[in-house]
Each structure stands twice: as structure tokens, then as C-alpha cells.
Symmetry: C2
Subunit: 342 residues, 2 copies
């Protein structure tokens, strides 16, 4: 066998093997095998160029089986008790007979390589349940990369038969709007009396919430939680009505005593019944997908442009011209564009 | 003379005439002639392709004379009394011996063609002052176009010798962050007791403010204004410190009785003295210009890509493939990109 024939044969064997592995992961996912699901998500998270077509193939296979879950986002500032809430609320969901997957988006894992959400042991009880699957955020990637992986992990979890998917975000930076853009129902956890300015009002998150839960309503905190509920309910009332006509709900609850967690599930149940029957969820998801496609395309187009040979030198030269008032910012942009758009 | 020679001659004559007109506008601006300034801003606002190189030429001439003013942004929800504030505060500025230009950014002028800020007679006293120049937002353009024109009008006003430039925004949509991106000192007007959720906290505007003024502090309102001042001062305190180490200030004032308007001027004066001496203003403006250049370039690159022949048909085809779950959003973006990036 000649050299190039041998290389060809090696490459084909590798491709066949890889393709067989995608096929076996997909078969496992269809059989609700959580090890196959984990292997699939790892493939999606892979930074290797050679893994990308395989990940795309796997997603394409899973897509027709996806879309049947309730996608619920959970956010709130650090300290509000997101993981204890998910642990307690997750058990309520499991008790209803549903299969639950928990995914997390954590920008700190992108910047530090470590993850403050990545510790599975935080959700101790839940992680031991047969019908629960917990997957922390991929580390060592960009926030955009983490968002992409999480979005595509949803399809895999759905193909693996999970009925409810909780997506947790650590609640800083842009992670909330990212999670909001991939879920149907968005829950904001709040602490009573911690000062609104610390809790997302200033970041425009309250407008996105479908339900606002005052956590830690137990013991001596109940009274303050009730006051906070009334005041938030009043504030929510002032926002413009949502497209799906859902009026955001406010409730108090406790992850410690499980107080009102059934009520929270009822609220989400009402939301889904209302919005599945009127066709909103389907339209909304399709809109989310198209937006996601546009954002991804924007990124590809811009990074393609900014990576053109010689761009950086010219960019720095023109930055200099702006700083020294030789050129207006607008004219500078036009010059850079005409230089590199050919 | 042959036909093409004649056309050539006509074109050159036209170009010479246009160029002479830019030269004469620039001369007028240097002589602080407000009619020349108005003609210059009209040229900048022009939608005609043939006017663009002339506008660029005029801006290039004005740039070396620009940069000496104090650029102050004024925002607040409709009804907070922005124009009466500018009328009253403008007189305080004029009394200090400064020359004042007032520019406005009004997104409604972009969408409806009319302008709720465009009525010069609203600032009745100010518009009759020799040292004041009031220019409403250009109508019939996009918000981006209005922002560009306003930004470049700043250079012209500065070249025409104005010491203080107030930029007013109607306070809805994206107009506040746009104004913030072109001024040094950003003032948020607030009403006492109107509910925070209505007044920009939810839109993340409070974080941008260098000064927060409770307006209409006259008659029976003074007590409530003082309470609001204390509560906002407390809230502002919780935001992370600004890069220039300026601690945002809160004050009450009245445009009706002129109560505390001198104090407001003192605050802005303190801001500028602090931030000119430490070199921050210069660095900040240069950063603003570079950001503006990047944003403009992004827009040019994306609109260039999306206008490629055949793009729209393919975009619609792929949107269909996403809606019918034949393709993931990410894969769709990659396909569109590889089709049109050649």
C-alpha cells in the first residue's frame, strides 16, 4: 500500500470509528442512558475542531426527538439560595413523576477555569435520585461557548426523555439574559429586605421574570417576606404586559421547610398549560432559535472580518488617528471598512 | 466642447461650488456665526449620498478646534421636566458667562418623522439669548443616524466656541445609553414618589448617572423630595465605584423657583475640575471615540454581509429549516456564513 493510500485508509478508519461512536451515543440517549447523555454533552462541549462535525451530527439526530420538555430558568444574586432551591424544588418535581435535568450556566467557569456551580455535591439529595440528572457548566470556555453548549445540551436531555429542564445561572453579568433566551419560563429568586438595587432590578432582570419568588420565608423571616411579596407584586404590575399575556406571579417560599414549593410548581404548571394550548411556546421557541442563529451569524461575520490579515495594524493606526483628532470616528470606520471589505 | 468634456466640466464646477460652500461654512463657524453652524449641522444631517464627503470634510476641519467644551447629558422619564430644567439651568450657565449649546436626541423623531422635543418654543427664554444655541433632533432618520449627527454636531458647536453643551434625551428606549456614550457628565432627573420602577432604575440608567437630581422641589413637594434624595443617595452608594473615582451626587432642585440650580452647577464644576486635572476626561473621550468607531464598523460589516445578493432567500430557507427542526441554529449560522463569506 502506498503512503497516501495508507493515510487515506487511516483517516477513513478514524472517521468510521468517530461516526460509529456518535451512532452509539445517540442509541444510548434514545434508551435514556445517562452515561451516553454525559458522553454526548462532553462531545458538544469539546473545543477540538475535529469534534465539531461529530457534535453537529449528534445534535441533528437528537433534534427531531427534542422540544417536549418544560424549560425553566432559575436566577438570582449569589446568596439567594439557588442551589438549595433547586434541590428542594427538584424533589417536588420528581414527586410528580417527572424526570428532571439540571444544567448550569456559570460565567466564572469561563474566566477562571473553575466553577462555583460545578460542585455536584452541592445538590446532594437530588444527585442521588435515579430520575434526576445534574450537569454543571463546562469550564475553560468563553461565556458564548458555555451558552452554546448549554443550549445544545437541552436538545440532548430532551431526546433522553427528561420532562423538565432547570437551567441555573449564577446571576452575574450577561448570564441571565442568555438563560432567558433559551427557556420558556423564567424564575427570579429574591431575598426579602436585601435592597432592590442589589438584586437585579437595576440590571433589567425583573422585567424578564415570569415568576418572582421570595426565598427563605421561614422562621422569623416570614413577615418580611410577605411585605416584600406585596411590594414586588406592585412593582411587577407596572411593567408592560407580556406578549403571551402571562401576568408575572410573586410568591414566598422556603427551601428549608418546603413551604409553598407545591404552589410554585402549580404556578409553572399553569404557565405551561396556558402557553402550550395557545401555541405561544412553539412560536416563542422558534423565535428564540432564529435569534440564536442571527447572533451566531453576527459573531462569525464580525470575527471573520476582524481576523483578516493586516487588520490589526490598520486598526491601531486608525485608533491613533482618532486619538489625535486627525479623523472622526465615523470616517475612520468607513476607511477601515473600505480597506477590508474587498 | 464634446459631450463628455462638458459633463466633466459641469461635475467639476459643482464640486468646486460644494467645496467652496464647506469652506465658507467652516469660516462662519470659526467666526462663531450661528447661521453657519446651523448650515453645517444641516449638512451633517443630510441623507444625500453626495453630501456625505462634504460633511466629512467639514468635520475634519472642525475636529482640531473641538474638545474644549463641557459635554453634559440630561435624561429622565417624560414628565420629569427636562425642558423646563434646561431652560432654568441654561440661564444659570449663561449667567456664569459661558456660551451654551443645547442638542437633543429624540428617537420619536426617527420613527414618526415628528419630534416631541423639536419644538424650539418650548425653551422660550433660552432661545432668545444671544449666547445660547438650541438645535432639535433631526427628523426622519434612524436612531443610529440621529446619534451620529448629534455626536458630530458636538464638534461643530465646539469649533463655534460653545463652552457648555447640554444634550437632552427624551428618556425612552436606547437613547440614554447613546447620550451617555457621547458626554462627560451624565445627569438623571427624577421625580419624588413616582415609583422607582418607572424611572430608569429598571433600565440600568441609574448606574450611569454622575448626578441624580430630584426635580420640582418647590411648595409642598420639598419634604418628599428630601426623602427621595436620602433614599437615592443610599441606593447610589451601593453601586460599584466609577473608574474616575467620582461618587455620584444627589440633590433636590426646582426649575420653577431656581432653588439649588447654582448648587447643581457647582457639582458639575467640581466634576470637571476633578476629572480634567487627573486626565480622565481626555482618556475617556478617546475611549468613547474608539468605541464609536468600533460600533460603526460593526454596523458596516454586518449590513454589508446581509445585503449580499441572494442572502435573503437563503436566510429564509434556513429559517424554515430551523423551525422544522431539520437543523440546529448554530449549524444554520455556520452554513449561511460559509455560503456568503467567500
Amino acid at each position: 500500500m502506498e503512503q497516501h493510500q495508507h493515510e487515506d485508509w487511516l483517516r477513513k478508519r478514524k472517521e468510521n470509528k468517530a461516526s460509529r461512536s456518535v451512532e452509539s451515543i445517540f442509541e444510548g440517549i434514545q434508551k435514556h442512558d445517562r452515561f451516553a447523555l454525559s458522553a454526548g454533552i462532553t462531545l458538544i462541549e469539546s473545543q477540538l475542531e475535529s469534534d465539531k462535525p461529530l457534535a453537529n451530527e449528534l445534535i441533528r439526530k437528537c433534534l427531531p426527538l427534542s422540544g417536549k420538555s418544560r424549560r425553566i430558568g432559575i436566577t438570582g444574586v449569589p446568596g439567594v439560595g439557588k442551589s438549595t432551591f433547586i434541590e428542594a424544588f427538584g424533589n417536588v418535581i420528581l414527586n410528580q413523576g417527572y424526570k428532571l435535568a439540571v444544567l448550569t450556566i456559570d460565567p466564572s467557569s469561563a474566566t477562571t477555569g473553575g466553577s462555583i456551580l460545578g460542585d455536584k455535591t452541592r445538590m446532594h439529595t437530588l444527585s442521588q435520585e435515579l430520575n434526576a440528572y445534574i450537569r454543571p457548566s463546562a469550564a475553560g470556555s468563553t461565556l458564548g461557548g458555555v451558552a452554546r453548549a448549554t443550549r445544545e445540551s437541552i436538545y440532548l436531555c430532551e431526546a433522553a426523555g427528561f420532562d423538565v429542564i432547570l437551567i441555573e445561572t449564577v446571576g452575574v453579568g450577561q448570564s441571565e439574559t442568555m438563560v432567558h433566551s433559551m427557556v420558556d419560563f423564567f424564575v427570579l429568586l429574591m431575598l426579602a429586605g436585601a435592597g432592590d438595587e442589589l438584586q437585579g432590578i437595576k440590571r433589567g432582570i425583573m422585567e424578564l421574570a415570569d415568576a418572582l419568588l421570595i426565598t427563605k420565608a421561614d422562621g422569623g423571616n416570614v413577615k418580611m417576606a410577605k411585605l416584600a411579596k406585596a411590594s414586588y407584586a406592585n412593582a411587577l404590575h407596572l411593567f408592560p404586559p407580556k406578549e403571551n399575556e402571562w401576568i408575572p406571579r410573586t410568591e414566598i417560599c422556603s427551601s428549608l421547610t418546603h413551604f409553598n414549593l407545591d404552589e410554585v410548581w402549580k404556578i409553572s404548571d399553569e404557565f405551561f398549560r396556558h402557553n402550550i394550548s395557545n401555541g405561544w411556546i412553539e412560536r416563542y421557541r422558534s423565535k428564540q432559535d432564529v435569534n440564536w442563529m442571527k447572533e451566531t451569524l453576527d459573531e462569525l461575520v464580525l470575527s471573520g472580518f476582524y481576523r483578516k490579515p493586516g487588520f490589526e495594524d490598520n486598526f491601531n493606526r486608525i485608533k491613533q488617528a482618532i486619538s489625535t483628532q486627525k479623523m472622526s470616528a465615523c470616517e475612520a470606520a468607513e476607511e477601515l471598512y473600505s480597506l477590508f471589505s474587498k
